[in-house]
Amino acid sequence: MDKSWKAMSPDERLAQRLDGYVAMPGFEFASPEAEAAYRERATIIRDAFEMRVPKRVPVFPSEGFFPVFHAGLTMRDALYEYEQVAAATLAYLDEYQPDAWFGSLALVPGRCFDILDYKLYDWPGHGLSDELMYQMNEGEYVVAEEYAELAADPSGFFLGKYLPRVFGALEPLAKMPLLPSIQEMPMTPTALLAFGLPDVQAALHKLMEAGTEALRWMGVMGGLAAQVRALGFADWAGGAAKAPFDAIGDTLRGTKGMMLDMYRHADELIETCERFVPLMVEMGVSAVNMTGVPLVFIPLHKGADGFMSNAQFEKFYWPTLKAVMLGLVEEGCIPVPFAEGGYGQRLEIIADFPKGKCIWWFDQTDMGRAKEVLGDVCCIAGNVPTALMTAGTPDEVRAYCKDLIEVAGVDGGFILTNGCGIDHARAENVRAMMEAGREYGLY
C-alpha cells in the first residue's frame, strides 16, 4: 500500500501526480501509436518542467478560439454548439499535431449564462454580435466599504451579495440566511424560511437548470478531453487558480477600484487578499484531483509591467500570489502563472521561489532576460506574439521561433508556445510555428 497522501512530502505528492500524468494508468488510448505519442509528449513536458533537457522542445499553440474560427464557426457557435466545438478541436489537433491542448478553459456553455442572466459579461446574443469574443463589463461589483464583510466570510458574501449582483436570475439570493446560524434544533427553522419564498425558490430552480446544462456541456467537453488524450495529445492545464489580487480586482472591485484601494484601503486590501489564498489553493487542487493533470493555470492581470511599481508589486501583489503557488506546490501541483502583458520589471522578484517547482509562462516579456533571471529557478514557456501570429508572415514566425529556441531553449527548461490565445491567427503561421518548433527544437 502506498503511503497515505497526508504522510507524503510535497515532492512525493508531485512525483505521484507526475507519474500519473505521464503513465495515465488504466486510460485507454486509441492505438499503441497514440499511447506512445502521448507518453513522449507528457514526458518532454515533464522534463522541461523539471529543468532537464528533453528529447525536444515541447511545442503547441495557445490555441484560444483558433480551432473554432479555423473550422468556420462563429463565436456564437463556440458558446452554444458543443458538438461542433468538439469536432473543430479534433480537426485542429489532427491538422497541426501540437504536443498539448490547452483547451477547454476558455470554452464555456452559453446557455448557462442565458439561464442565469449573467451581467458581468457581454457575449454573442447578449450585447455582442455572433462573431465577437465574450467580454467583461468591468465595474465595482463590490464597494470598498464591503472589504471587512468579504474578508470575514468570502463564501457567505459570494452567496448573498456577489452572486445576486452578477446574475440577474439570482437576485433573490440576497435573502439567503447566515448559514452558520443553523445551529441547534430551535434555531434552525428561522434560517429555513428564506428557502420557502417563491422568488428564492425560483432562483434556486434557475441554478438547478443551469447546473443541468453545465452537466450536459461537461458530457460533451469531458468526452472531448478524453478523446484528445486518447489520440495522444498531452494536457496543458488540469485546473485554474488566480492571484488573490486579481481575484478581488478583476471581477469584484474592478481595475480602478483596486488601484485606488492601494492608497485608500491598503490594509483591508492586503487582508482580503490573504483571506483568498486558501480559497485559490483549493480551487486549483480540487480541479487537479478531478482531472489528474497537475498543471494549474494562473492567469495574471494587474501585476503586469506598467500597472504598479515594484515596491507596490512586492507589497500588494506578489506575497499572496506566491502563497497560492506555494500552497499548490505543497499539494504536489505545478503552478503555471501566465504573465499576460510584460513582466520584465518583475523577473528578479518572482525569481524568489523554490527551484523547479513552477512554470512561468510569458506573453510580452523579453525571453532572453527571462532565461537569464529565471533559468536556474524554473521552466519558462512562451512567447510567440499573438500580433505576429495574426499579422506576420510564416517566415517571420519561423525566424521568431528559431531565435526564441536559441535564446530560451538553452539547456532545456523551455516550452515553445504563444503569449495570449491566437484566436485570429493565420493558419499558415500556426503551421510555421509548429514546423519551426519541430525543426529547431531538437536537442
Partner: protein
C-alpha cells in the same frame, strides 16, 4: 499659488490635498489659481509616471483628486479658465471591443497635458470615426483595442478613414493589450504607443506647442 497644495496632490496625500483646496475655496482664494495649482501638480505626476516612479494607482489617484478639486471650485468659478489647448485628439476603442480602461487613462493624460480630447467611447464603428473626424477635425486619431479582434477592426478603421479621403491630414496611433508595432504596420497607422505617456509624447511631437 499654494506650493502646499501642489505637493499634497503630487505626493498622493489625498485627504490633505482636498482639505487644503476646501480651505482655499472657503477662504476666498482665486479659484483659477487653485486649478492652476492642480494643473502644476498634474505635470509633476506626469513626469514621475514617465520616469517610472508612478504607475496606474497614482494616475488614478491624481484623477480623483483633480475631479474632487474641480467640483469644489466650479461653484465659485465666475469664468471658465482660458486654457489654451495644444491641439485636438480623437480617441476611441475600435469596433467589437468594449474595453476602456487603457483608453481612459490615455484620454486623461492627454487632457491634463493640454490636448483637447474627444473620446468616442468603446465599440466605435469605422464610420463613426470618419464622421467624427469630419466634425471634430483632430490632428491625431487614437485607436485603442484590448482583444485580438481589434487588429482587424483597426485595419478596417484606417481603411475607412483613407476611403473617406481624410487620411492625409491626420496622424493615427494604435495601442492597447496585444497591440504591437506589428499591428501598427498591419493597420497602416503612423505609430504604436506603449503607454499613456507614449501617447502624450507622440501627440506633442506631431502637434507641437
Amino acid at each position: 499659488m499654494s506650493k502646499e497644495l501642489v505637493n499634497a496632490i503630487a505626493d498622493m496625500r489625498e485627504d490633505e490635498a482636498l482639505a487644503l483646496a476646501r480651505a482655499m475655496v472657503e477662504g476666498g482664494a482665486d479659484p483659477t489659481g487653485i486649478l492652476e495649482d492642480a494643473r502644476e501638480a498634474m505635470d509633476i505626476v506626469g513626469q514621475r509616471y514617465e520616469e517610472g516612479e508612478y504607475y496606474l494607482p497614482e494616475l488614478m489617484m491624481a484623477g480623483e483628486m483633480l475631479n474632487g478639486i474641480t467640483d469644489m471650485v466650479k461653484p465659485v468659478l465666475t469664468q471658465a479658465p482660458g486654457v489654451e489647448r495644444r491641439g485636438k485628439v480623437l480617441i476611441g476603442t475600435v469596433a467589437g471591443d468594449i474595453h476602456d480602461i487603457g483608453k481612459n487613462i490615455v484620454t486623461f493624460m492627454l487632457d491634463v497635458n493640454g490636448f483637447e480630447v474627444l473620446d468616442l467611447g468603446v465599440d466605435v464603428a469605422p464610420e463613426k470615426f470618419v464622421e467624427s473626424i469630419r466634425e471634430f477635425q483632430p490632428e491625431v486619431v487614437g485607436l485603442s483595442g484590448f482583444l485580438t479582434l481589434a487588429f482587424d477592426a483597426m485595419v478596417d478603421t484606417v481603411a475607412a478613414i483613407e476611403a473617406a479621403g481624410l487620411r492625409d491630414g491626420i496622424k493615427i496611433v494604435v495601442g492597447g493589450g496585444q497591440v504591437t508595432d506589428k499591428i501598427r504596420e498591419y493597420a497602416g497607422a503612423d505609430a504604436y504607443g506603449d503607454d499613456a505617456m507614449g501617447a502624450v509624447n507622440l501627440a506633442s511631437e506631431w502637434i507641437g506647442g
